[in-house]
Amino acid sequence: MDTLTKLGILAEAARFDAACTSSGVTRGPKDGKVGLASGAGLCHTFSRDGRCITLLKVLMSNACSYDCAYCVNRCGASCTRATFEPRELAELTVDFYKRNYIEGLFLSSGVLGTPDATTERMIECLRVLREDLRFNGYVHAKVIPGTSPELLDRLGHLADRMSANLELPSSRSLAELCPNKDAGSITKSMAQISATRQGEARRLLESGHGTTRAALARRKSGVVAQRARSCTDMGLRLNSNSMTLRPPDPVASGGRKFAPAGQSTQLIIGASPESDHHILQLSKSQYQKFDLRRIFFSAYVPVVEDDRLPDSATPVPLRREHRLYQADWLMRYYGFDADELTTPDAPWLDLDLDPKLAWALAHQERFPIEVNSASLEELLRVPGIGPMGARRIVAARRRKRLGFDDLRTLNVTLKRACHFICCSGMRDPQAPLDEELIRKEVARSARDGKYNRTRRTAEGQLSLF
């Protein structure tokens, strides 16, 4: 089988991991080596369904010996099987990189015999890529559940980011749908990655590498949101990735040798019955326990007929995936707690409203806020004001008291924000004052959007309003 055919099979086999994974570390060029890594990543193209493609995301092999119910590559499926030779995939990565198609490699695999045998093959591919082909770009490696700690350690020294997929939001669902996987072995790998990274950080700090102790102490003592208060001090950034409220890494990634871009995980949404509340609480605990960089959500695409799974005619839960990502963003960038977004009594996110807007409508007693005196944290709670907008407001009001025209000039989305703010005590003259009226108008406007209407039709749901 030639490389073209294998690539088609193994890219198609990897696509159900729908996460748009990009780069997560900055690494400058090195003499004699190919490429670099930039923290924000670069989306080199967008698939026909609109997901960004930054990395060459493929499986090493789709000849899997596991039998996960939802997976197109499970051992019982009758699909064409293919396996890359380690050097073949490494050369393909460099070929694509030099043509500016990708930022690096996202390497995953079906379980080719045993987890260790699969990981050894992945390690050989990455060794050729790093040592023989001198590739300095970005590499994301998936952890095969059940891989031995020694191999995991070697893999982590070749990859920038590692991810062990939780797959399903509860061990009960995992046991039911993935009989060959157990939650314990997945979390064990995550714990090992986290512990190795922490150990490395400690050693680097003790030996004087990475961030200085004084800087570390400053970072620990300060309120997280105090970083980079003014957007003029940061230039005209187009994205706000650096504005996450996550406490910064104590050591610079440049000094790290083991998984410098940290670890992430992925959850399949909609294949099992867990609620959004369950997923957000799980996310919160995973972020804290394993120092995860990201949790990715993949809306379940029903391609397999199985009694344990949703019917094959079930629509892809696109909006649910979207709302969960928005909630995840609120937790990482806006200082929201998972408990503020869902509760055991109201365990589902509203599909028609973004979670920030839904939270604001449910807490109207906290609004309107005065933009000329509100703290950054308060501004970040206003629908229509994002991390960049909030910092622009903070910078601009040093110079003068801001009015609604100024906010418009600062590119604040007043259509949403106007209901929740006032400027020098004045409300927007066009916006209603009555809380109930605001709630109705804002909710109606959101629900009537084309996106919500299209999805409601696809999902066969009726609006409750």
Binding site: T3, K57, F96, A395, R455
Partner: protein, 280 residues
């Protein structure tokens, strides 16, 4: 020119020579077309003076120098705005420069000022176009081993982004041609920077013809990339399911013609891999 710099802002309006439409009471004063040394020296002096003036007290400054990585901040956003094709760019820059000289470092917090906002809009668009350049440039390997790309941005982004490609592909010889702005960036193996050259129409069209002189096996690499792209799309998530076209909003259609993965001439069924090097 020096006289005009001292005239009140309301009495002077800057425009590209091809966009000039003088009002009844306006007179046209043309800047010489040639890149004469005194003119360049004057531009540099104004730029440095402006930078010194507005960056006073900036926490990012190292000594007297603005950091090279301080993209888009106070002074360097002038260069970004100047690279914008918008016909209003000269006048917006003119007003911003005057405002900077009169307000000094205060201009950094004047984000809601109309003059600053207009310059920011132009600069932000150029930055966005620079990002598109880094995203959507597609190199092809030519028969002499050079990597070549033709790219058509809506701002003069090649001089702003070519050094990024030089760091990314330091060990390669490559050319990046922008036929719209008549500019080419050339990089030799091992160099830290690119040589940027302005071209005339004849040279631009001559260089464009090189793009078809592909190395052996190059079409196969193109076909592999297209196969990968075609294989990763997922059903149930496309424009008809969303109510809007997410792909087009992230990847404007004006770039599609230059994207290998959307090249309709690369058939899905390709011959098996030819013998010989594939280019890595």
């Amino acid at each position: 020119m020096t006289y005009l710099a001292h005239a009140p802002a309301s009495m002077v309006r800057l425009a590209y020579s091809e966009d000039i439409q003088p009002a009844l009471d306006e007179r046209v004063a043309r800047v010489p077309e040639t890149e004469s040394d005194p003119l360049l020296a004057l531009s540099r002096r104004v730029y440095r003076g402006f930078e010194r003036h507005v960056s006073m007290g900036c926490p990012l400054k190292r000594g007297k120098e603005c950091p090279a990585r301080c993209k888009g901040s106070c002074a360097s956003r002038l260069a970004l705005a100047a690279a914008n094709d918008d016909q209003d760019a000269p006048e917006a820059i003119h007003r911003y420069v005057r405002l900077g000289f009169s307000e000094g470092p205060r201009i950094r917090s004047m984000l809601s000022d109309k003059t600053v906002a207009e310059l920011d809009r132009l600069a932000r668009y150029t930055l966005s176009e620079c990002e598109h350049t880094r995203q959507f440039v597609r190199f092809s390997r030519l028969s002499d081993g050079t990597y070549f790309s033709t790219f058509r941005p809506k701002a003069d982004t090649i001089p702003l982004t070519c050094d990024y490609f030089a760091t990314r592909m330091r060990c390669e010889r490559f050319c990046l041609l922008d036929p719209v702005h008549h500019v080419i960036a050339m990089h030799e193996d091992g160099d830290r920077r690119c040589a940027v050259t302005r071209l005339d129409d004849r040279l631009t069209s001559e260089l464009s013809e090189h793009a078809s002189d592909l190395a052996d096996g190059e079409t196969y690499v193109h076909a592999m990339w297209k196969r990968f792209y075609d294989s990763v799309g997922l059903d149930g998530r496309d424009a008809s399911q969303r109510g809007y076209d997410l792909r087009t909003s992230w990847m404007p259609k004006r770039f599609w013609g230059g994207l290998t993965e959307l090249d309709p001439t690369l058939g899905s069924a390709m011959p098996s891999k030819p013998l010989g090097p594939s280019g890595s």
